[in-house]
Amino acid sequence: MSSKRIDNFGKINRDKIISFSWEKKNYFGYEGDTLASALLANNIKIVGRSFKYHRPRGIMSCGVEESGALVTIGSFEKRDPNVRATSQELYQGLEASGQNAFPNVNFDFGEINNYLSRFFAAGFYYKTFMGLPPFEWGSGTSIWMFFEKIIRKAAGMGKLSRLADPDSYEHAHDFCDILIVGSGPAGIAAAKEAADKKLDVILVEQDSLLGGDQIAEKEFDTNKTLDELKNLGVRVMNRTTAFGLYDNCVIGLIERITDHIYYDKKEIPRQRFWTIRAKHIIVGSGSLERHIAFNNNDIPGVMTVNAAKHYLNRYGVLTGKDIVIATNNDSVYNTADLLSQAGANVIILDSRKEIKLDNFNNNIQVKFETVPYSINGSRKIKSIDIADAKHQPYTKIDSISCDQVLISGGWSPAVHLLSHRGVKAKWNAENLCFLPGDTKENITMVGSARGIWNKSDCIKSGIAGALDAMNHMGLSKTNYFFPKEGGWSNPIQPLYEVKYNKSRSKSFVDYQHDVTADDVRLAHREGFISVEHLKRYTTLGMANDQGKMGNIIGLSLMADLLDKDIPEVGTTVFRPPYTPISIGALAGRNVGKHFRPLRVTPMHQWNLDNGAIMIDVGLYQRPWYFPKNNETLSEAYIRETTTVRKSVGVCDVTSLGKIAIQGPDATEFINRVYSNAFAKLPIGKTRYGIMLRDDGIVMDDGTSWRLSENEYLMTTSTAQAGKVMSWLEELLQTRWTDLKVNVTSVSEQWAAAAISGPRSREVIKNCLENPSLIENSNLPFMGFISANLKDGTPCRIVRISFSGELGYEIYIGSDYANSMMDLIWKEVQNYHGCLYGLEALGALRVEKGHVTGAELDGRVTIDDAGLGKMASTKKSYIGSAMRSRGTLIANKDREQLVGFFPVDKKETFDAGTIVCEKNNIKGSGIGRITSVTHSPELDHWIGIGFVQGGKEKWNNKTLIGSDPVRNKQMELEVVSPHMIDPEGKRMHA
């Protein structure tokens, strides 16, 4: 093993030394290194362990297709697993370690799997662990669940820290005329051509440097190119991956901002998630070099040919001393020359009969019609056995000692982004690769992503791509043509697998998941012959690299087995993302408190100042309870409920939806929307109303007040406020376009407080400029008035009751909410009243059997809710035709709203409890409890919910409440949902 840094090669900055750690030992690299190049420079060859067999793996490429050098970067909460060492830039203090190994990648106990590999063929766990072999004992039991845990532990790659991500991420949006993916020769040519025509161009490059494959050319100057592009006005985004292409030329990018430096603050985001809308997309995403399947083709020291060129010319690292290059195409010869110049002994194995090449160094030995057969060595390469390409089955004819094997089995254009658009790739038999298919969208493929292999043609294709884009955009009508794909002097020859003639070979097709050629053959034998089945059965093309290197070999093997051509076997669809994306980038800033917007009422701070503990209700935060002297939740809400029933309490009810309905047809409109009669509601009166959906199910309930002849104020539940507003707009704009009505949301404009309890009238009296307005004669139940508070602020007072007590709600302009609360609270305290929150509000309404969202859950009809008598029989309204449709009422035993008492009055229960018949406790039972509370007035727990047949059927019979989640059962008694003051004497007082 002898990879080392050499002089006179590479573009790294040798003046700047960078120290980093690998497996807790310190090493040095240079500015411009990746972790992979620095590891190679330090001659570290084993950097990973394979997924299943825990075989030692080295660095196999120099880019995003890497499937050997997957490492873990950082520690503790900064720990980032499965990072490709080949794309990780080196920085001062970088901590990296191997993964999927115990105790470490150099010596891993898991390697025993390699010797037991015949038990781990494709699909082994599905077959083996359904039951215990040999007779599948335990099959059909949960034995699989037991084994699953062990298997999951043994398989898999890096481990997450399980700590919260300390970094910040950002979402950003932008627009441009042309977005170009990839800064290879084609991408740069396209960018220059388009920018020259004054178009707004964004050029995206996943690498830190521009240039693509040209970076490995000695004479290419990446900084000069960057300057040229910037001077032309091109917006260059390096360290940015185009991970997905979507409808209408929307492209998703991940910009890596601090991944290449040491950064432990939060001010700068670690990554930025871009959504960019371009008028045209040019994809010059390049192509990826394939390997060849042969025995032991994964021993550390195996690499793609082009990677060795990049390590030499970009990083100044010569990756081997005695190098064997195995190929079937022309692309390796230039690299062989370079490696030889750098001092390596190079031998080329070319499967072809003969080739003609200009400018090739004849000192390099080329063995034609020779293929790699098997590598000898386990932790490093000792030698390679070679075979005669003409004689099948292949047999070993010779052995060459070497320390590195470079492979090139051909090139696959990166058609991923076009595949995201559902465009199928076309097989090109001449160049043995899938080429991008045709699309009608504004997307143009250029360069080697189009299957063009030589640089001058790539540049031509880039210019053609820019002209194509401008023609599409209607900016020019220039004639242009794309150079033909291909471009090698000698044709490539098919070579996917060199089949080993002994059993138990390890010819890897897909390194990432340890899929071997034998696994593909096994899948074929067992009938998994479609590409999609092949993928799922063998895991070929899954995981981190998504088959970037192995897919085509797998397809060719299956084609061979089926005696078909590759295009007939088909190809799997590539889906976003092109390379893995951190979850943090997807979440952006929508984490923690910013996960969703927060809505607060105008008296939010007032509530907090007065000791409220808040609870989330939809987007709102509402007071939950107001603890006194360290009370618990239950102590507080029981005290609050009792105080309201005995004296008076005040509660913030601002979050209810409020809609102003105005216009000459307002009455007609509201009468069509609600199921109960509204046409004759007098001015100055309010009414409880129930809205149904078109299909006859309850949508929402609330009150509406008639302010004048043509003006109403509608209130809705907090949860349905937005939906009801949209629904009213839909009806007016799409169905009843002849009605002259306007609806406006005024939820934010009005603040509201409920004052409930026997002393509430006295409290309000003391708050008003004109106390007589509140007298029973002037403001009876379900009436409302306009009045002024003592300080002169105008308000509206409505007499309605959710608590069942004498109750009012005061509505006031939002800006006056705090002064109103100060005024009311002072008076409430004079009557030893309290502030109450949502928990007490719930307790009060459950005692009264009032329904809310927990009951009106989109499955309940107005009859189920016990409110059927309210529905008008004299008019037609939304849902009237459907509320009594056959399918809804055919079942006479529909679940009806009822109240529940525990038979043993000391017993408690929870919402969600399933109600069952006594000797039939199973499944979904015959009902459910939807809301529960302790009732201070009855002094035991009560609930409301639904049961088949309702109270009539279960009167005086005992049912069972089953709560399997909390492992609880209790006996229940079915009662009327109106558990307190059923005649409503109190609220009419």
Binding site: D247, E441, D694, S726, E730, Q733, T734, R735, M882
Partner: protein, 94 residues
């Protein structure tokens, strides 16, 4: 990643809108029979190609729009207000 040209607000991202439903449905009168309502509520064509659908510009001008959209490519052929009076108004504005 649809963008809809709202006749009032201009071209906006789909995230400002909510999808309504089939715009070709003629809802029967409220006193129509159960079977007419059943047809209007439950039966939908599964169109491959252009279909008329309603979208609500929820986080914009709150107009209900009739959008002709291809279910295959998401291409949008036309956008107009659902309300005929608003349609006329938008024509005048042009």
């Amino acid at each position: 990643m649809i963008r809809i040209k709202c006749p009032y607000c201009g071209e906006r991202d789909h995230s400002e809108f909510t999808y309504g439903g089939d715009a070709s449905i003629k809802y029967p009168s409220l006193d129509a029979s159960e079977s007419e309502w059943t047809d209007a509520i439950f039966f939908r064509k599964n169109i491959k190609g252009f279909q008329k659908e309603t979208w609500h510009h929820l986080n914009g001008c709150r107009m209900w729009l009739e959008v002709e959209r291809s279910t295959i490519t998401h291409e949008i052929k036309s956008v107009k207000p659902c309300h005929p009076d608003l349609q006329k108004l938008m024509e005048l504005k042009k």
